[in-house]
């Protein structure tokens, strides 16, 4: 057995994980960075995105590409709006006290999850990908006639998976432009640096907080819509991505967007590669324990300040 094609496959699977994880973790990191809030319900916003994507695609019917496109727009908007409502009705009222926010978002986690169980049920349901050509992974071989290409049997990926990676890169660049090159980004960064001074300069901090919380949840939902043609939508699907995003956010340094993306790629790739050779459970244990090492050597994360 040639090893290299398996490594390529592992890398592609890992990059798909990394793409989705980066989007989700950037949402978590943004909320933590600007609002200093740990959103434990983030995984449920992810799950809600996937379930709504199924719902929209199911209601619309028609060509899978159109249904998927509609889901890609509608699901994150709905989830974002819901998150903004949660921010205004719950988090604002406890004035973003760190511990009480954690408890409240744990509560929110169960409310969203269990309401989904009551309405959507415990089945896993798929969404059809907009396009899905199979692409075999080529590899080289030394033959009598010199170097030649061949396709190891059974190893392949799909065009959709590659598109997820590409789309996530575009979105992450978009967020970077939003944060560094636009007025809204400037307002968010100002609020992050000093909430009180920002307010004194006439920034409506309440509105910024609601927006950031909605944006963070919307990103999680977007990540879920992208993954739902590959994995199915299920009411418990938010759990593992939440833990992985926590790992990514700690390793990247709490509140640092660049660090978050780097950490997502690291974790995603190692998860993909380890999963090729070992069981997923061992892959998860290793990823979890990587946090320990980062903690011992760099308590503030890779790109964290302080």
């Amino acid at each position: 057995m040639e090893l290299a094609p398996y490594l390529i496959l592992g890398c592609i699977e890992g990059l798909v994980t990394a793409a989705v994880l980066a989007l989700m973790a950037v949402g978590l990191s943004l909320v933590f960075g600007v609002m200093r809030v740990v959103n434990v319900a983030h995984g449920e916003f992810f799950m809600l995105g996937a379930v709504l994507a199924w719902f929209v695609a199911d209601q619309l019917g028609g060509h899978p590409a159109i249904a998927f496109l509609a889901a890609l727009i509608i699901a994150p908007l709905l989830v974002g709006t819901l998150a903004m409502l949660a921010d205004m009705t719950i988090l604002k009222r406890i004035s973003y006290d760190p511990e009480r926010t954690i408890v409240a978002t744990i509560g929110l986690l169960y409310i969203i999850q269990q309401l989904t169980l009551m309405t959507y049920g415990s089945n896993a349901r798929p969404v059809e990908p907009p396009f899905n050509q199979r692409i075999a992974i080529p590899w080289f071989e030394w033959t009598d006639g010199g170097l030649s290409l061949y396709w190891p049997w059974g190893l392949g990926t799909t065009s959709y998976k590659l598109a997820v990676i590409g789309f996530a890169i575009i979105l992450l660049l978009g967020i970077w432009v939003l944060m560094t090159r636009t007025r809204i980004g400037l307002i968010m960064r100002a609020t992050q640096l000093d909430r009180d001074v920002a307010q004194a300069y006439g920034i409506n901090v309440d509105r910024v907080y609601a927006m950031v919380f909605g944006l963070g949840a919307g990103l999680a939902a977007l990540a879920a819509v992208l993954i739902v043609p590959i994995q199915q939508a299920h009411y418990l699907m938010g759990h593992d991505p939440l833990l992985l995003s926590f790992i990514v956010v700690i390793i990247g340094g709490l509140g640092s967007l660049v660090g978050t993306v780097i950490a997502a790629v690291m974790i995603g790739l190692s998860d993909g590669l380890i999963s090729v050779f070992f069981t997923p459970t061992l892959a998860k244990i290793i990823a979890t324990l990587m946090v320990t090492f980062v903690l011992i050597f760099r308590p503030s994360g890779l790109m964290g300040s302080k």
Partner: protein, 316 residues
């Protein structure tokens, strides 16, 4: 004659234990069994309360301590053929070791990172139990045979002895918590909760005290885990999952963080709330979610906390 506040508190809690002792004679079988379970789970919550309520450290990984005790006992009994006594000791020791190790590492961080890191460790622990499914039987868990659940000639699977054993465990841990919190050590923990920098400035070794608090808290949780497996005859990976880390937080918050009796009251209420709602719907955790949100919004002190504020300021 006027009693000092700390004495008043001790007498009050002893009275409460006496009430629990008497309750076994009048309770119907179903609630009798429930109360035994609640007392063991409340012991777990009291362990959690030492760290969260009194020291002010929010951990989301206590299930790993509970499971350390449960598996420390269950595995040695099942695979090494140990009896209940040494098995309980193995559970306690597992709790001390795990909490000392995890505490040492996790206390390098503080605040939000501490919470996330404990959550991660607990997740790694949970996955490890699944990974070694050959011995732990993973999610399915394993039953501890009735013949093994005998301690000093007493059959602990018998409801009456089970209730008494649970009460004994609960009573010892309750009085220990009160003693601990009335001691100098406990005052330092409370000082850390109120203002960590100031406590440090006053010359206390904050890091050491926090570490000891993690160990005390984790060990009490582990003993509760071992007792749970022994009294109810089952150990499974569910008890190591995130949900079992969130439960003690919920119970302590509902009952009142930083009160000795809060964990019991919180466990009692939540147990019956979930018991009632699970007969209505499979989505019974919805109740827990709604309770958590309402508690943070309207009752941040918890039931016993409010009660102490209004009527009994001397309560520990």
């Amino acid at each position: 004659m006027m009693m000092s506040d700390s004495k008043k508190s001790v007498v009050f809690h002893l009275g409460f234990l006496a009430l629990l002792f008497l309750l076994q004679f009048i309770l119907p079988a179903y609630h009798h069994g429930n109360l035994a379970r609640i007392m063991v789970l409340a012991t777990y919550a009291m362990g959690y309360n030492i760290l969260f309520g009194y020291t002010g450290l929010l951990s989301l990984g206590h299930a790993m301590f509970f499971a350390a005790g449960m598996y420390g006992m269950g595995l040695t009994m099942t695979h090494l053929g140990w009896t209940a006594g040494p098995g309980m000791l193995a559970g306690l020791l597992a709790g001390v070791l795990v909490s000392a190790g995890i505490g040492f590492l996790a206390l390098r961080t503080s605040g939000v990172s501490f919470m996330i890191v404990t959550l991660m460790f607990a997740q790694a622990g949970f996955l490890t139990i699944l990974y070694f499914g050959e011995w732990t039987r993973g999610d399915e868990g394993f039953v501890i045979r009735q013949a093994d659940r005998v301690f000093a000639g007493i059959d602990l699977s018998d409801p009456t002895y089970r209730y008494l054993a649970a009460l004994l465990l609960f009573g010892i841990c309750l009085m220990l918590t009160i003693r601990l919190m009335q001691s100098r050590f406990g005052h330092v923990l409370i000082a850390i909760r109120e203002n960590e920098e100031r406590t440090q400035m006053l010359g206390y070794d904050v890091h050491f005290h926090k570490w000891m608090a993690v160990i005390a808290s984790g060990t009490m949780a582990a003993v509760a885990g071992a007792a749970y497996a022994l009294l109810f005859g089952y150990a499974g990976a569910t008890f190591a999952s995130v949900q079992y880390s969130i439960f003690p937080l919920l119970w302590v918050l509902l009952g009142g963080a930083g009160t000795a009796l809060g964990p019991f009251i919180g466990t009692l209420f939540m147990f019956y709330l979930i018991d009632l709602s699970s007969s209505l719907t499979t989505a019974y955790m919805l109740i827990a979610g709604v309770a958590l949100v309402l508690l943070t919004l309207f009752l941040p002190q918890g039931l016993v906390g409010e009660w102490r504020r209004k009527m009994m300021p001397w309560l520990t």
